[in-house]
């Protein structure tokens, strides 16, 4: 119970810090980055007309992923670091995909189903990265393999 409360507290502190960082600096920079990187990628895959306005409010979903990953206890440093980098990259790719919905519904908000996908996506990536720790919550028959268990800190 005490440990759970400590994890929640850590999550609150980390996520408030990251949200501040996002609001103050990262959001605008990420917008410029998407505008610079997006069009050549879209052109490469045949969506040359796709607009990149980079204002969509749900791009903040980096924050819950990073917060969750940083406060998950018992995850090996290697898995945490590689998971963080790959997770951020995956979320960036998801933004490029979600941004294509501008072709169907322009504006700051995403349509409903992409909104759900965007909200749930960091959670999925976290489940995948933190699986060795989360597997302990699964029923006994689904215990992780010894290889996965070895990766976690005790």
């Amino acid at each position: 119970m005490k440990k759970s409360l400590l994890i929640i507290l850590c999550f609150v502190v980390v996520s408030i810090g990251l949200t501040w960082f996002w609001n103050e600096w990262a959001r605008e920079s990420y917008g410029y980055f998407l505008k610079a990187v997006g069009p050549p990628i879209y052109k490469m895959i045949g969506f040359q007309d796709a607009p990149v306005r980079a204002l969509r409010t749900r791009y903040i979903n980096f924050v819950p992923f990073v917060s969750l990953l940083l406060v998950t206890p018992g995850l090996a440093l290697k898995r945490r670091s590689i998971g963080l980098v790959l997770g951020l990259f995956t979320i960036f790719v998801s933004h490029l995909v979600l941004n294509l919905t501008e072709l169907l519904q322009p504006g700051r908000s995403l349509p409903v189903i992409p909104s759900i996908a965007s909200d749930a996506f960091p959670f999925f990536v976290w489940i995948f990265v933190a699986y060795p720790v989360l597997a302990k919550f699964l029923p006994v028959a689904s215990e992780p393999s010894s290889e996965e268990t070895d990766e976690t800190d005790s």
Binding site: S15, P64, I116, A117, I127
Partner: protein, 179 residues
């Protein structure tokens, strides 16, 4: 069948992959999310009047909740006001998206049906409760620390959305699955 043939049998490999919860759980979650999201979308496109009504109901409940502590609150349609500071509750603020994601997590989880049948409605009720607290906090911040309202509006949206889902899911697993 030799061991080498067994490992190359595509059906067997597929079954082995499916037996791995790391693969199965996210796939099932995506499937349930797709179903839940489609029902949500279909529901609001067939009954567009439901969206403002949900906002109004949430506003009324927030108003009643704050009314337990102070009489400085008023409520009209989907707007709640705390001592002159108004907040309009739109459909995205009522917590239905969070409930859809949480329900997909519960339904995909390898647990007995009975646990899931308890988990979905109780968890959704808990998420709704958290959401009322979230809106109440925003009203208090907006009224008394207005400079921080935009920051908290963003914070209490994406970051706490996931935190709400994870904590309710954790409680469900502890209380109903690992009893």
């Amino acid at each position: 069948m030799s061991t080498a043939e067994k490992t190359h049998d595509p059906r067997r490999r597929l079954r082995t992959l499916w037996a791995n919860p790391q693969i199965r759980y996210p796939i099932l979650m995506i499937a349930y999310l797709a179903v839940g999201g489609s029902l949500y979308s279909l529901g609001f496109s067939r009954f567009p009047e439901a969206a403002p009504e949900l906002g109004q109901i949430t506003a009324l409940i927030v108003h009643k909740f704050i009314g337990l502590f102070t009489d400085l609150t008023t409520h009209r349609d989907a707007t709640v006001t705390l001592s002159g500071f108004p907040v309009l509750i739109i459909v995205e603020c009522v917590g239905v998206l969070e409930m859809v994601i949480y329900s997909a997590c519960v339904l995909a989880f390898p647990a007995p049906l009975r646990a899931k049948l308890w988990g979905v409605p109780l968890g959704c009720a808990a998420i709704f409760g958290f959401n009322v607290l979230r809106i109440t906090t925003l009203l208090v911040v907006g009224r008394y620390q207005n400079d921080y309202f935009d920051f908290f509006h963003v914070y209490f949206w994406q970051a706490t959305l996931i935190a709400m889902i994870v904590s309710v899911l954790y409680a469900w697993i502890k209380l109903f699955v690992h009893r």
